[in-house]
């Protein structure tokens, strides 16, 4: 059964308050070379094979899994 791995991130123009807090914590741990942290969401779908997996995944992301106003998504299908 194909596995779809979707990662969703806040658009680069938006401040990621969560990422900023984590970045501060990493600096406190001594990782001074961390320039920026961006936190996103990772979703896996096990999906029965169909010819239109790509179209389906794009539709699911557009409708529900991601919000196009604030987020970008990318995905890969692992057969």
């Amino acid at each position: 059964m194909p596995l779809v791995k979707i990662s969703i991130t806040l658009k680069p123009t938006l401040l990621d308050a969560q990422g900023r807090a984590v970045s501060g914590a990493l600096k406190n741990l001594g990782y001074d070379n961390v320039e920026q942290v961006r936190i996103g969401r990772y979703i896996e779908l096990s999906i029965s094979a169909s010819q239109d997996i790509d179209a389906q995944v794009r539709e699911m992301c557009g409708k529900l899994l991601a919000n196009p106003v604030i987020e970008d998504y990318s995905y890969e299908v692992v057969k």
Binding site: L10, L14, L15, A17, Q18, A21, R41, L64, L65, N67, V69, I70
Partner: protein, 223 residues
């Protein structure tokens, strides 16, 4: 005038809104369960605050597809009044009834306090009993209330008078909202969203009755 208050799993301001309408405004009100497919003939639908569906995925993202929302979208498309408060505002943005989105507060923290709001447009169905420039004290209670949108949308909101309220005063913006925006409406002026809770400010016993003017405004007959 009949009000409806939507209820999703995780709504927690539904009873406050119900109380404000029934006991303070003295108007008929019914709950609208998320699985219902109609709004029981209500004139105004309130989408209340809370954590619908646990705020899973994104705030409001799952509630937006509840059967009752189809009826609410239908109601709005015919000019029916809809007011989304806090999580309700997030749901209306997710559903596309209002532009933009609400993301995590800049300060990371959940902020719960009375906030001064400046009325930016008092010629609307939600604000006609207020004065332009009037400062209202209405509480907020949210962790994800930073209003964001693209530049084009922001320009349109300003040009069309769709910004209803801004957080007022130096350093008053509690969440990093673009241009201090606390509440907006759609272009047709029948769908409203605000992060502050007018239903929690409808009696002096609650610390402020400034929210009452907004609920009363909804009852003003429209041309």
């Amino acid at each position: 005038m009949k009000f409806g208050v939507a209820q999703f799993p995780g709504s927690n301001c539904d009873q406050d809104a119900y109380f404000a309408v029934k006991d303070v405004l003295g108007q008929p009100v019914e709950y609208l369960w998320h699985r219902d497919r109609d709004i029981k003939g209500c004139d105004v639908v309130i989408i209340p605050g809370g954590f619908s569906f646990g705020d899973y995925l994104r705030c409001g993202a799952i509630a937006r597809f509840a059967p009752v929302m189809e009826a609410v979208i239908e109601h709005a498309s015919h000019g029916g009044l809809v007011l989304g408060i806090c999580n309700g505002f997030q749901i209306l943005c997710e559903s596309g009834l209002l532009p933009g989105a609400l993301i995590r507060n800049d300060g990371q923290k959940f902020v719960c306090k009375h906030t001064p709001l400046r009325v930016e447009n008092n010629r609307t169905a939600l604000t006609n009993r207020t004065q332009k420039g009037q400062i209202l004290s209405i509480p907020i209670a949210h962790g994800e209330g930073k209003y964001v949108c693209d530049e084009e949308t922001l320009k349109a909101l300003n040009e069309n008078g769709q910004v209803l309220f801004r957080y007022a005063g130096e350093g008053a913006n509690p969440n990093g909202s673009y241009e201090d925006i606390a509440g907006i409406m759609n272009q047709s002026g029948n769908v409203f969203g605000m992060m502050p809770h007018p239903e929690r400010a409808c009696q002096s016993l609650l610390g402020s009755s400034d929210g009452l003017a907004l609920l009363e405004s909804l009852m003003t007959p429209r041309a």
